[in-house]
């Protein structure tokens, strides 16, 4: 259980986290989602006491992190890949961390095995790829078999197999009743991994809801219809409950009627359909809608996030 109350962090005149209050519950994977610079990492750093809040407070299992008698058994944190001296081997890095809590070498070997680092454990971290660095960070987080895990962008730099492994791992840890908080700016990853999502925008919590609800909030189901006689069809669909949006000459988006109903209607009117599909409100839509105006570094028109590029979410 992680509890943040009006957590605020300012660096000079810049506010990184602005009065964030939230609760991260055990037994769930909670995702911290937000664009770059939204305050996700700063929030995580404050949870483990690396950064001191300007005001507000955050506790883990009822106490500030630093007040726990066995911090590594309480919280395991991966805050960034390679918070490691590059001249030391992975094994010695973990051994030194473990020693602070009198955790034995057997456990060190165990987390090395679990994270698949056996073959490189004796090598110096200097030569590690980003993915290996992430695995080492996760190994360090698992050392104390902690009740709470905080993982900042854990899948960053991992190959597809590694991504799948992290996803399975965090699901499993949550299923064991642990508290899991992970951050990502990849909405698709969150949709697959998290149960609950906290969205950050410019340092503030702008949404805090279960994934299912979050997707529902974003957008009602839209049906995209392509037909050479699309204007005719649009007139037939007219009704107070239905919104029709013209996309181009032959395409409309319809909200408020199911695809089946539109199909039936078109058939009875003898209108040929060249395409019809349901576009569920995706997490991406919801996310972009929520963070519109909260994005700190916006790309110019040419490189803008593709808001029209709606995806079907197959969940």
């Amino acid at each position: 259980m992680i509890e943040a109350q009006a957590l605020t962090k300012r660096y000079g005149s810049k506010t990184a986290v602005d009065g964030a209050s939230f609760l991260v519950r055990p037994g769930l994977v909670t995702g911290l989602l937000g664009p770059n610079g939204a305050g996700k990492s700063t929030t995580m750093r404050m949870i483990v006491g690396l950064d001191r809040p300007t005001s507000g407070a955050v506790t883990v299992n009822g106490r500030p992190y630093a007040e726990h008698r066995a911090p590594l058994h309480e919280v395991g944190a991966l805050l960034e890949a390679k918070a490691v001296h590059t001249g030391r081997s992975a094994y010695n890095h973990l051994l030194a961390l473990a020693a602070t809590h009198s955790i034995g070498a057997a456990r060190v070997r165990e987390v090395i095995r679990v994270t698949g680092l056996d073959s490189v454990a004796q090598k110096r971290v200097k030569g590690f790829s980003l993915g290996m660095g992430q695995r080492l960070g996760i190994a360090a987080a698992l050392l104390g078999d902690p009740q709470t895990l905080i993982l900042d962008e854990p899948v960053n730099g991992l190959d597809p197999e590694g991504v799948l492994w992290v996803r399975t791992l965090v699901r499993h840890l949550a299923a064991e009743g642990r508290t899991v908080l992970l951050s990502s700016h990849l909405m698709s990853e969150m949709a697959l991994t998290a149960d609950h999502i906290i969205v950050f925008g410019r340092g503030r919590v702008i949404a805090d809801a279960p994934v299912s609800e979050f997707i529902g909030q974003g957008k009602a189901a839209t049906v995209r219809v392509t037909s050479p006689r699309v204007d005719e069809l649009a007139r037939l669909l007219e009704s107070p409950d239905v919104t029709v949006t013209r996309i181009d000459e032959v395409t409309i988006d319809v909200v408020g009627v199911t695809a089946e109903a539109i199909g039936e209607l078109a058939a009875s009117a003898g209108i040929a359909l060249h395409g019809i599909n349901t576009v569920t409100g995706s997490l991406e839509d919801a996310y972009l809608k929520l963070t519109a105006g909260e994005v700190e570094y916006r790309s110019d028109a040419s490189g803008q996030p593709a808001t029209n590029n709606q995806q079907e979410v197959s969940r």
Binding site: R52, V84, H85, H93, T100, E161
Partner: protein, 279 residues
């Protein structure tokens, strides 16, 4: 390499009795960190070899009995124990620079690599990590220094004997000097570690630590004001030097207090900043 997450549930190796964070554990952790870096091992090895090598060189420069017979005078005008002490501590001039650099690196290396965040996540109260680091580095420096000087003594024994100098290690002018010289290096190492923790950058830390040893004394001495020149006696490199050779300014216990004062000053500032700053 497809591991099932279920592996993590295997807690066999993690005993049910959790010890938690202890100072003994932190000391052990810092010892593992110190010995597992090639740079540390290399630096200590180089210091060890230099210490012995320079001692041997020094011994060979001493006049042989033949020279004395031919009327050449001992150029050092020292009694025998003093000659031995000078020989054994000959490497200190260079050894102190290695220790000063290493002292900075022990902590600045953690900042430059990001290791410090792992360290402070494991020891969120932070200060025990600073104390443990200082203690481990001071003790290792002391042991390596004493060993290298003892070995220098043994190696130079026959060379000195051929020059009719034979002094026991237990001579009351010899062993305290060896202990004092080793203590000097340990003090200096911890002062450098404090500087490294304050400045947090390797380049800046090394510059200020070497500056304190090499540059500041020179500057103070050339300023033609008596009290400023007197101040030079209080600097770590000069006051510390009195731990192993008598320069007639301070007693050994006074020099020890002055060095402790420097350690307290730099570690104190480092501790304050460590608590206050974000890692």
């Amino acid at each position: 390499m497809t591991r099932t997450a279920a592996d993590t549930a295997n807690r066999s190796s993690l005993e049910e009795s959790v010890h938690g964070l202890t100072f003994a554990g932190i000391l052990r952790s810092e010892w593992i960190k110190l010995r597992s870096l090639r740079s540390t091992v290399w630096s200590f090895s180089i210091m060890f070899v230099l210490q012995i090598g320079l001692g041997v060189l020094m011994a060979f420069t001493l006049p042989t009995s033949n020279d004395s017979a031919s009327g050449m005078v001992n150029p050092f005008a020292m009694d025998d124990p003093m000659v031995v002490v000078t020989t054994v501590t000959a490497g200190l001039a260079l050894g102190q620079l290695i220790i000063a650099v290493l002292g900075v690196l022990v902590i600045s290396g953690e900042y430059s690599t990001g290791q410090i965040r792992s360290t402070f996540t494991a020891v969120p109260t932070r200060l025990p990590a600073l104390w443990a680091k200082s203690i481990v580095f001071a003790v290792v420096t002391f042991v390596v220094s004493v060993l290298s000087m003892l070995l220098t003594f043994v190696v130079t024994l026959p060379i000195l004997a051929s020059r009719d100098i034979s002094v026991s290690l237990l001579d009351e002018a010899v062993w305290p000097a060896i202990v004092g010289a080793a203590a000097y290096l340990s003090f200096l190492g911890v002062i450098s570690l404090g500087l490294g923790a304050i400045i947090r950058s390797t380049a800046g830390g090394i510059a200020s630590s070497l500056g304190l040893i090499l540059v500041v004394p020179v500057i103070l001495v050339v300023i033609p004001v008596t009290w400023v020149q007197d101040l030079a006696n209080w600097l770590p490199s000069t006051a510390g030097g009195q731990l192993y050779r008598d320069l007639g300014v301070f007693e050994v216990w006074q020099a020890q207090l002055i060095m402790l004062g420097w350690v307290a000053l730099f570690l104190g500032i480092a501790a304050l900043l460590l608590k206050r700053r974000d890692a």
